[in-house]
Amino acid sequence: MKSTNGLALKRGQTQKPVSQTGGGSKKGIAGKLILYFLLTIAAVMQLFPLVWLLLFSLKNNQEIFNLPPLALPEEIRWNNYVKVWTSGNIDVYFVNSIVVTLVSVVLTILLASFATFALTRMRWKLQPLVLGLFMVGLMIPLHSTLIPLFILFQALGLIDNLWSIILSYTAFNLPITIMILLGFYYALPREIEEAAIVDGCSVNRMFIRIILPMTSSVMVTAAIINMIYNWNEFVFVNTFISSDTLKTLTVGVQNFVGQYSTDWGAIGATLMISILPILLAFLIMSDRIVEGIAAGSVKG
């Protein structure tokens, strides 16, 4: 901790001349180098386990245990991927994950948009109470609801049914989604509503035709956050789903890995398959994701 403090100091001292004169003194350049060095080390630490995972997903056991960890395999063994994709239920888990994630995200965004509109733009007495319920919902551990939910879904015949997890994801994601949407809705100018109403527009029409399209950017941001949560969720699936054909990737992968307990290449390939969609989404939409995560937490 001490050394990091020292660094902030060094960095601080170098910042002034650089920003004031626009050029770098020797001290400034040295400070920058140290800064970049440390930031790079941190970046390498964040990426290293993943690079190692990618490498061992392309090796066989002999190469994994005999070659240095970061050595490339003698030949790239894509057959690890082919093997795990064709020999188990990975494809089924994959489809389940996509269905569950998409349905819950659409449901959450839709319900949250309607609720946020009423919570921010409409006038009613219970508004603070309802808003409070949603915000306290952020702090509630899902584990505290697990037993009654299990009993409830059992009574409804939803145990071992994808709806049990879709409903749970939607309910538990509503608070964070509403929180992301809130700031955006508060910032919408009142004039839009007034103009629409003077023109004889109903509330429904105004919301669906005017306001909702205006919020598309924040809806995308919230959708991505939801997607990451739902794609990775473990406890609900693990508790509510028992058939192998209904499991999502996270739980499916967990069971699948057990079968391959000694074949590291196959395990690596399984894990890579389970994280690739999110990594791809991140590469394509990283700015949105970064924004979304920041927005989702800072506005509290």
Partner: protein, 293 residues
Amino acid sequence: MNKVMSNKLVLTLYVLPALCLLLGIVYVPIVYTGIYGLMEWNGISDMKFIGLDNYQKLMSDSSFWNSAKHSMYFAILSTASLLPYLLVAVLLSGNIRGVNIFRKIYLIPMLLSSVAIAQLWLKVYHPTSGILNTFLESLGVAKTPAWLADPNLVLGALFIPILWQYAGFYILIYYAALKNIPQSIVEAARIDGANAWQIAFRIKIPLISEVIKVTVVLAVVGSLKYFDLIYIMTDGGPNQASEVMASYMYHKAFRTFDFGYGSAVGFFLLLICLAATWLIRKLTASKEKIQYS
């Protein structure tokens, strides 16, 4: 205008679906957790009302307190780790090139499922073939530790992947907050002769104290309900050395089918989370008023 914007029918249609789901899947179950906690019940036979017996048992259950201690340990470590994250964010918020790449790279582990992270780190920690012990052996360490099987090492070993997973998340939050500070305030301080060190610690960090408060709550509550990674990597073992409150609840309910006692643990977990949130908000709120009023 007012009349249109407080249309009762529209209001009901807009709020009710979301509210019903929230009440039905989050709040009503909590009430039931409280009720089940007063019962002796294995999930199949009839419930038997036993009053506060489960809670009394909880108070003297050393396994539970052990798990609570481990949860607290994670909460303290997570909160402490916020300081280096804040410093990295301060560094990033200076005018340097490539900031975007760094903060994106830091964030990547946050996107992965706990199953993938757990399996990956199980391989990192593997006693004979893991990358960590392979590295230690290459340095000449003769007796490499069995990280997850050693009761003295397991909690620390579990905390590293947690640190790894959430680093980017907190750095990003701080970075976004620091970037939101109006440049004019920083400029004014600079003109008044403050050096960058003073600007960071006297101006920037106090200005984002609201956000810091939120992250402390997130870190503490997140740690108290931490479950997935521990459940997958050690299942609370060896010999309960890494059991936390959520995993203890899960084991009681879904392994030994003691639904009544499991519910009591679950309800207690809820109370602790809410109490921790309230306490942190309370403690930090008063401090701030002194600074700014």
